[in-house]
């Protein structure tokens, strides 16, 4: 393994490698167990969403509707289960049904109608937000069910329940990606859809299915997140779309498909959450928070893209031909 390849593998950890030592110097309170629990729990929600996004991006897609799904899941649960006459089962059924419909719509538009993913999922986002607004008139009618509050705020020993759920989801996604025929078909489809189709892989179905996975995981995150906040919040999912995409790509995935890492994604998610928490604890002004995040994120992106880039010198290209970088699908 050459140096470039080693550096490429470090890429997902760039933010963590910057934030953790800096935190030790400037903000020792960062390492308090209660704060680490907060960081881990906040990261857990983004991790679940990002793992769904990872599956989509491996298949050469992109899902901008995950934020809308998060808010919609919370809305439906509060609407159908959060009133004295409500039913948790009805709320859960409505969440699953609507989520599947959203994922299916995205999948059909992208895989079968060949609509660019960024447009199809943006359209779905607008649709979902509009329907939510129409349904509620901007007001929530109930409260977050206690069962969700218990999940969102609960702990098993020192570990927040959402962290355990995220860990379970990560293992499940890793197994599906690397130990199943479906996973191999997804990587192959992402790498080269035409060749995969010629070799008998149902590429359209595979791609469509990734949007179902992303929607279901976003809904799961939305339900737990609403339990944590304990209050219906129409902006609950704001930011998760782009944050999840950033985490997946910083974690080693490529918009060109066929590449992505569960561990890398989790590392990038932890890095982003740690960075946000550190800036919060430091109490720096709003403008400096934005500048700090921008600088760290750009540095991570530059590092990641530089180590991936093709060498420009003839000697470098010759070295790459003689010792090509591993094109492994996954580095779990």
């Amino acid at each position: 393994m050459n140096i470039r390849e080693r550096l490429r593998q470090i890429g997902p950890y760039t933010i963590l490698l910057v934030v953790l030592p800096v935190a030790a110097i400037v903000e020792p309170g960062f390492y308090r167990s209660a704060n680490l629990q907060n960081v881990a729990r906040d990261a857990a929600f983004l991790a679940i969403v990002a793992l769904g996004q990872l599956v989509v991006i491996i298949g050469r897609g992109l899902d901008l509707s995950v934020g809308g799904v998060i808010t919609t899941a919370s809305l439906l649960m509060v609407y159908f289960a959060g009133t004295p006459s409500g039913s948790f089962g009805l709320g859960l059924a409505s969440v699953i049904g609507v989520t599947l419909a959203i994922g299916l719509l995205n999948g059909l538009m992208v895989a079968f109608r060949r609509v660019p993913a960024i447009l199809a999922t943006l359209g779905t986002l607008f649709l979902v937000e509009g329907v939510s607004l129409w349904l509620t008139g901007g007001r929530s009618r109930g409260r977050v069910p206690e069962a969700l509050v218990a999940v969102g705020t609960g702990r098993v020993g020192p570990i927040p329940v959402p962290v355990l759920v995220a860990a379970g989801v990560a293992v499940l996604v890793a197994v599906i990606l690397h130990r199943t025929t479906y996973g191999r078909a997804l990587f192959a489809t992402g790498l080269n859809p035409e060749a995969s189709a010629l070799s008998g892989i149902p590429t359209r179905s595979v791609i469509a299915s990734t949007y179902l996975v992303a929607a279901l995981l976003a809904a799961l995150a939305g339900l737990m997140l609403s339990g944590l906040v304990g209050f219906y919040d129409r902006t609950l999912g704001v930011g998760y779309d782009l944050d999840s995409i950033a985490a997946v790509v910083l974690g080693g995935a490529s918009f060109l498909g066929g590449r992505g890492s569960v561990v890398g994604t989790l590392a990038a998610v932890l890095g982003l959450s740690s960075l946000e928490n550190l800036l919060l604890l430091q109490g720096v002004g709003e403008s400096y928070q934005l500048i700090g995040k921008g600088v760290v994120l750009f540095a991570a992106v530059l590092f990641t893209t530089l180590v991936r880039r093709r060498p420009s010198s003839p000697a470098g290209r010759k070295a790459m031909v003689e010792n090509p970088p591993e094109r492994k699908h996954e580095t779990v």
């Binding site: 901007g138 007001r139 929530s140």
Partner: protein, 418 residues
């Protein structure tokens, strides 16, 4: 916080993508070079009052008797009298409170029917939803022969509001009401140049080209909560401030008012301050971080109920005693106060005052002189009046006071029959 992250993430995602993929025809303007509205200091009677009714609902009326005198007198008196509702000493009114003048609107006089354009905040959550409902209801109730054109803009897309207002101007309305979510100087000045009277409803702008502003004095709101907090903790202790969205004038004015109060007391230590977008999730995240960082938080000042309920949930989860809170009268916040028993002050900002903005616009088109600033009177109360305001049979997401009757609240599934 989420929107900040979103902005940063947007830049990164765009960089990554690049790296990887190497109206209707109204009347002609009367005078496109309309001179600025002339100003006098004659007494004005356009005031807005909000009074709790005996049945616990609120009767919001325009033109009520807020006391004799000019709007300057009324606002100065608000600085003096409203603290006394909480048993606090009177505040000294800021200089601008003495500078409210009466605006001659005779040049805008137009007989009905009229076309009123309203660049309004999108009904993304309950506050703007009620705000929009109130103005629509007022239009139907009092001005059914006229036309109201609503053009909403979401908080998250505030940067597009200028374009929205320009679209409204193309339709040549008789009056333009704006709820400013961003810097709207340009469209205000262009409207004024076309002879269209502009009114600001909730918020402000760095220009004198508008006719009047109908709003609550947010500096006063921030001061009221802060002064109550200061007294509650004996003028010494550690506090945390959770503001609204950064850069939004309403939130910044409240924060400025709070800081002005806290700066008077050297023994009050501000442990941390964070913008939280009036958002429960952001409030919870910020407070959870503060709770891990500081063992002693004696009080929390917020400028909105959204972040307050999130912060309270963070206290509950951390198993820490909930300290005194300053917030707004949202029914969900009052429920938490009733359930958890912490002391609080609630300083209102009722969304229903949008209807008074419409009334002011009609007054301008009547040619009636209006004050350059119309201060909305709001409810101000603390723990002692919790039972009078909290409505246990209603949803959390109900802003108080509400313009709706009990029957309407039940009809709209916002309350169970009492």
């Amino acid at each position: 916080m989420k929107r900040m992250t979103r902005s940063a993430a947007l830049m990164v995602v765009m960089a990554l993508i690049l790296a990887a993929c190497s109206g209707g025809g109204g009347e002609e303007p009367a005078d496109t070079t309309a001179p600025p509205a002339s100003e006098t200091t004659a007494p004005a009677d356009t005031t807005a009052t909000t009074q709790p009714a005996d049945d616990g609902t609120t009767d919001t009326t325009e033109g009520g008797d807020a006391g004799a005198g000019t709007q300057s007198d009324i606002l100065v008196r608000a600085f003096e009298e409203e603290p006394q509702k909480l048993g606090l000493d009177p505040f000294e009114a800021p200089d601008y409170a003495h500078e409210i003048v009466e605006v001659d609107t005779s040049q805008y006089k137009k007989d009905g029917p009229r076309r009123i354009a309203f660049a309004i905040q999108a009904p993304e959550f309950s506050w703007p939803a009620t705000y929009n409902d109130a103005v629509t209801a007022r239009m139907e109730e009092a001005y059914s022969d006229s036309e109201l054109i609503l053009s909403p803009t979401g908080l998250g897309e505030a940067d597009t509001q200028v374009g929205t207002i320009e679209d409204l101007l193309v339709q040549q309305p008789d009056a333009l009401i704006i709820t400013p979510l961003t810097d709207v100087r340009g469209p205000i000045e262009r409207a004024a140049a076309q002879g269209i009277p502009v009114l600001l409803c909730t918020g402000t702008a760095e220009t004198d080209a508008y006719v009047t502003r109908v709003d609550r004095d947010n500096l006063l709101n921030g001061m009221l909560g802060a002064e109550w907090i200061a007294r509650e903790i004996g003028y010494e202790g550690n506090i945390v401030l959770l503001g609204g969205p950064a850069g939004v004038p309403t939130a910044e004015a409240r924060l400025e008012g709070a800081m002005a109060v806290f700066s008077k007391y050297p023994d009050i230590n501000i442990l941390g301050q964070e913008y939280t977008n009036w958002d429960a999730a952001d409030g919870r995240t910020a407070m959870a971080a503060f709770l891990t960082q500081f063992d002693d938080i004696d009080a929390v000042w917020t400028d909105g109920a959204g972040q307050a309920v999130g912060a309270i949930e963070a206290f509950k989860e951390a198993g820490r005693e909930i300290p005194p809170f300053a917030a707004e009268p949202l029914n969900g916040f009052l429920r938490l106060a009733a359930e958890e028993g912490f002391p609080f002050v609630a300083v209102g900002y009722p969304p229903s005052h949008s209807s008074q903005c419409l009334d002011a616009a009609m007054a301008v088109l009547d040619g009636t002189p209006v004050p350059s600033f119309i201060n909305i009177e709001v409810p101000v109360f603390d723990t002692d009046e919790l039972d009078e305001w909290y409505r246990p049979n209603c949803i959390d997401d109900l802003w108080l006071p509400t313009p709706l009757t009990d029957e309407q609240l039940v009809e709209q599934e916002m309350c169970e029959p009492a």
